[in-house]
Symmetry: C5
């Protein structure tokens, strides 16, 4: 998720380098025209065949999905007067979310976070050019259609979407992008909870690995959502007149959602940090306990074994001429006394360990 396309240092700005063939998807261009009473959806073969857009108050949404044809992109830029630098940003995906005002339109970059069919987290850049009556969106992917519910709402014609202009349409797309984070975070939250139980139950190296994966995912989400919040804030305080007052109330709501997402992310980060801390302190306590057992058992039995070893030595005993060698072995009750000494040593040690609270 860290990858970002960048131009070779020193090349002229706003150069549109064709993508490597591997990830170049042929663009699909769709046009949706609507107003309160009218709705028209078409797939357009190429930018050149886009019809003229009369000034009839209709909202027009031009979607280009697929970045494989640099010429089409250039044509699109030419048709709608888009700045080459903005087109470059739309082509070189992996940009930070941002909002840039141009003369007669706003350029908005957003990063959609969604789960692919295998439930892996993916990111996809959505670039929008928001004009008075036209909204141009550029995406890389066409197959995973996360905007389908918005299109359905346009078709259904209920709610505010057909009554309001391109600014509301842009809001609806941004809102859909932002709201996709909630289920992704919910799933992450559940996974963190599972991990917590596992860590308490049977800590292993792989738990720690998963924990760090989660932390890194949270970090990345934060890096995408934080500037998205700034984008929404910038739209909220927009003074170009492209964002109407009623739409701003909706954008405020969407801004609120990003704040909630940031809150959730921060909560999860704190929880994972706490898990790591708890895990480390638990490992440290366990090591301490293990050492305590080892120390108690070793300290008791190693001296005893030494005593036993001493009386297992084979110095000439039973030979009257060397009475100095190991006379204890020939004393009556020698064995009993020896066992008694061992018991005394053991008792002393147990008392010592008890006082240290190691037993």
């Amino acid at each position: 998720m860290f990858q970002k396309r960048y131009a070779t240092p020193g090349t002229a700005p706003a150069t549109l380098d064709p993508l490597p063939a591997a990830c170049a998807r042929k663009p699909v261009i769709r046009l949706i025209e609507y107003d309160l009473t009218h709705l028209d959806e078409r797939v357009i073969p190429s930018v050149a065949e886009l019809p003229d857009f009369p000034d009839d108050g209709r909202v027009r949404w031009v979607e280009m999905n697929g970045l494989g044809d640099v010429d089409e992109l250039r044509a699109l830029g030419h048709r709608f007067g888009l700045h080459p630098l903005a087109l470059e940003d739309a082509l070189n995906t992996g940009q930070r979310p941002k909002m840039e005002p141009y003369d007669d339109h706003l350029f908005i970059v957003a990063q959609m976070i969604y789960r692919d069919p295998e439930r892996k987290l993916c990111g996809e850049q959505v670039s929008m050019f928001l004009g008075k009556s036209v909204l141009v969106t550029i995406q890389e992917e066409d197959e995973i259609d996360t905007f389908q519910p918005v299109r359905e709402r346009i078709r259904g014609g209920r709610g505010f979407i057909r009554k309001l202009k391109t600014d509301y349409l842009a809001y609806a797309l941004l809102d859909s992008i932002v709201d996709h984070c909630f289920p992704a975070l919910e799933e992450l939250g559940e996974s963190i909870e599972d991990l917590e139980n596992e860590l308490m139950d049977k800590p292993s190296q792989s738990c720690i690995h998963v924990l760090h994966e989660h932390r890194r995912t949270l970090m990345q989400l934060r890096r995408f959502v934080w500037p998205e919040r700034d984008v929404l804030s910038a739209l909220l305080h927009d003074e170009t007149g492209l964002i109407a007052q009623p739409t701003k109330i909706f954008i405020r709501d969407c801004y609120d959602h990003t704040v909630q997402i940031m809150d959730l992310i921060e909560s999860y980060r704190d929880v994972t940090a706490g898990l790591l801390e708890m895990y480390l302190s638990s490992v440290s306590l366990r090591t301490n306990e293990i050492m305590r057992v080892l120390t108690v058992i070793s300290s008791i039995f190693i001296p005893l074994t030494f005593v036993a070893g001493v009386y297992g030595m084979n110095f000439d005993y039973g030979d009257g001429s060397m009475p100095m060698n190991m006379p204890e072995l020939h004393k009556p009750h020698g064995y009993i006394i020896c066992i008694g000494i061992m018991l005394a040593i053991t008792t002393a040690q147990i008392i010592f360990f008890r006082r240290k609270k190691w037993l």
Copy 2:
């Protein structure tokens, strides 16, 4: 406490989805009308039967407790001109505390923290619509009535509450919400103190677990109180005229309480962080001590045991033809010399350990 209801991504904003049946409580609607001389309390069967509100300077407090009937909520919104997005936030509880100005009213979301009868910390969202002469509050729960003391104050008619307007009533409710944090925090503080004693006395894994529970609770409290402070600050600097100057002095006092609560939370966080640190350093010191005992005893007795083992070997002794095999065993005073060597080794080691300050 992390749960939050959210709409499916892509659905139209301000959609009021009915709650799952399990947690849908039938709404109870209460109306309290009062001015300095007059007081009237009624339970209203449904929003449709709310009486007209003449412009007679009386304060009217409409309470809807229970979110189980989306139609009633919608009717309430219609009756008082509430924005659908605000209604959605009132329905989807778990919102961040916030204050949003609308044309002729303020929308305030607060989170009440209180202890349920089993002394568990609970949170409940209180949504308020503060108009010129009407205060509408929406809550999920009806049984645990944390606003009872405020109602009693209205009935009692003493103090400022009957003299001032809806803004003071809203303040009284917010003040009650904020002040509920103090006893909750006090109890938490006592629990932390108990934990400190336990940690010093007999550290165990479960202490650490409880410590992290407390840290997480503090984190969550902070997450709710922090934006509540912003809400109060926003009310304090309100310029819509809905908040009168005398009420602002009270709101400043309430704002002060949130600052004190934040201070307490920060203190507790620092204390718990210190506890964790102290606990870790104490475990580390104990492990060190345990290791020292193990090392001293092992280092002294393992070499001695080896020496004893050597003289326990059964190489043919007492056989004149192999005089090289273990002649020490047959030397007079061999045993005494052996014990002497052992004592020398032990003394050397004790001196070594003393110099290292391990003994």
Copy 3:
């Protein structure tokens, strides 16, 4: 030091609840009237007997020490037009230092930190109402009179105090409160230095305990001094006209002192954090050293003991019919060879440990 009196949630604001009898000290009321030429000090039996204050340019300082009589406090509030919320804050001690402007006076809360006769750090709240010609101060304690030097300066009549107005008197009290932190901090600093020496010399669990006590004390001091700085800054930028320009130069000096105190506190915090770090790293290094000794000795002698053990086994030797059993024991030079093998093992291990730098 964490305790704070708070009202039961839901009670009306500005309720003056009598204190529990245990800590309710009967109030002592003192009045000091002075101008450049005149000085009059009296103890007043009750608020009702306070004389009228003509507008004669004299400074009047009304001290109420002791919070045991709520009615007296209420009477004081009534006499000088003090807001009930401010009186509540004066009664419920443990407030955060703050400055609140009211119509014709400023309400200032400060926390005096001083050492009691047993050299324990104590805190006491001082509430001030600063009017044009009257300064009212409310304290809990009467016996430990930290303001005595200020009173002496008034009596002495030297310096600025008799020339300037109530604002300078309030400054003099605040300056005295702030300057009390210096000796307290100096003592703490010496105690930290002692601790450092002890930690380096003979680390023990109790050092860590004391270290954390100091850290907690610093934390609390910071929590009191930080808002005190804001109070002084607010006075410095006061625009009500109650603070004259010449006094502001003095307040700037006092503000400077709080900044220096914050600096000292931060220094001490850094030092204690460094001590903890150094202590942990030293424990960790010691454990490492201890383990090294244990490992070297065990690794050398345990295999040797095994070899000795093998030749201490009692398999039938000396019996010609089972020549396979332990023939080494009957070889000439068997013992010498065995000792040689042991030496070789030891040498190999010593070389290994040398290369690892463990020896």
Copy 4:
């Protein structure tokens, strides 16, 4: 990379001390003159031979590569009215990136980060004086020509570079400087990924060393890029009129790149911090596991060895007159019973360790 030339304390400001001979490269002066239709490149032997610059709307780029001749530098300053302090900063390389407005020109210091032919990260200071129609750049190095692509773009005459003025040329150089960070960071990222695999596979002291090298590199990059961002922001909000509006759109794009680079650097810092944490927790877990094995094996076998040692003692057995000495050895089934006791001890211990989850 920390080195910075500084003047001896107390010397007059703006003193141009000659560099030590070792690193003094003879300056090479190049002049490029161009407008939309005209292009002229020359190498100039000395500043004195720079031609007059008529006010003909052409852009002139004066490059001085090499700081070995202080007199030439002084002459350059004299020719273009540069402030002695700025010249001093150009000479004493290792400055923090900054932008300082002077009367009729802007002084810009930037730090170019690039990989030398051995792929080591290097830094080189580029100082620019941006006037209305002249851009003066001063560099230390002449051989590694990182500005070659920009020169090619001037020669090629395509894009914006020949149409716009000195401000665009300065932007093109800054953009080239900023964009050089991307490949450097990409390589660092790959190196971090390799390290991660190595750390998981076979952690060693050298990994930690490399990890810290990387952290330090990131720290340094951050220290250079952060102020570069401020430089670009200052240019973006420039009000001297030296930066034209169309160029500002390009500078905004370049500013964006610095933000992305900061983002990348922060990501890498977080990743390396996570690696270190994961590594420490993994070492701690491994130590715990190792200790567990040691403890289990020692605790089981040390007591058993003691029992075996006891019955290896040589107290006089087989002698009817001292029946107290080790009668067990002469009991029938003594051996079997002894083995049975050993098994019982072992079983008890295994059950104990199982319950502790150490087995």
Copy 5:
């Protein structure tokens, strides 16, 4: 370096307490008068004998070195109209660097950091009163004359110093103070590098001690340089007219130096933090390695020693009447089988340890 003189709490502000005799140096007063053409240096016996200063455009620098005579200080204050609070700050050295505007002069406190002849870091307070035509400086020390180079520049008459006014002289002194940090930091940096090598080579407790000394020194430097930066920034934005525009360009340069010093300090702090981290992780890894060796050797040989111990037991063997006792000892090949079993145990353990990657 933490020490700071402070007045007894409660004493009147601006009291000039004589210093303890031990550190009271008799003041030396010097007067330097100069303009572009004129230069006059004198030592003045006492403040009373300072000549009158006609308004002739000359710059006058009055130096008082030594704080031992409070009366002289008071006389100085009286002569130049200095505020008693400022004089108190000049006397009670150890102040935080600050700039305070008074009616007709600026009061500047700076802390000079320099190495004494034994290369120890020292700090000395320099207090300046910057008036229209007089600069008064007050220092504690007279012997270590760090301002000598500035005096030489005045005498030499080259550069800007004789052309500009008191503001430039004050700048020159501040610049000299700031630039003294560079060599001090350079030396510290070299010491840190040495420490790094030592830590990697042969870590010991004393390294950690030195490391923490360095960290504390950096902390203190930061505490002095940070407010010095604010002082320069305040001078840069001065609006009293005492700082002329041309001087501000020089002050900007000096401000820049403080930023670079802060950068260096932060770099060093990061490096030392990294060293500590690396050191801890290396100790932890070493402990792990040591434990691994101990565990492998103990786990292999302790069980083997037990087996050898069993067959060293002295149960009655060779006695046909008790065939159950240790029949293995009498089996042909018993010894070989026993050795075989030992080898099998060893092999199993080695395979186990290999799979765990401990070997």
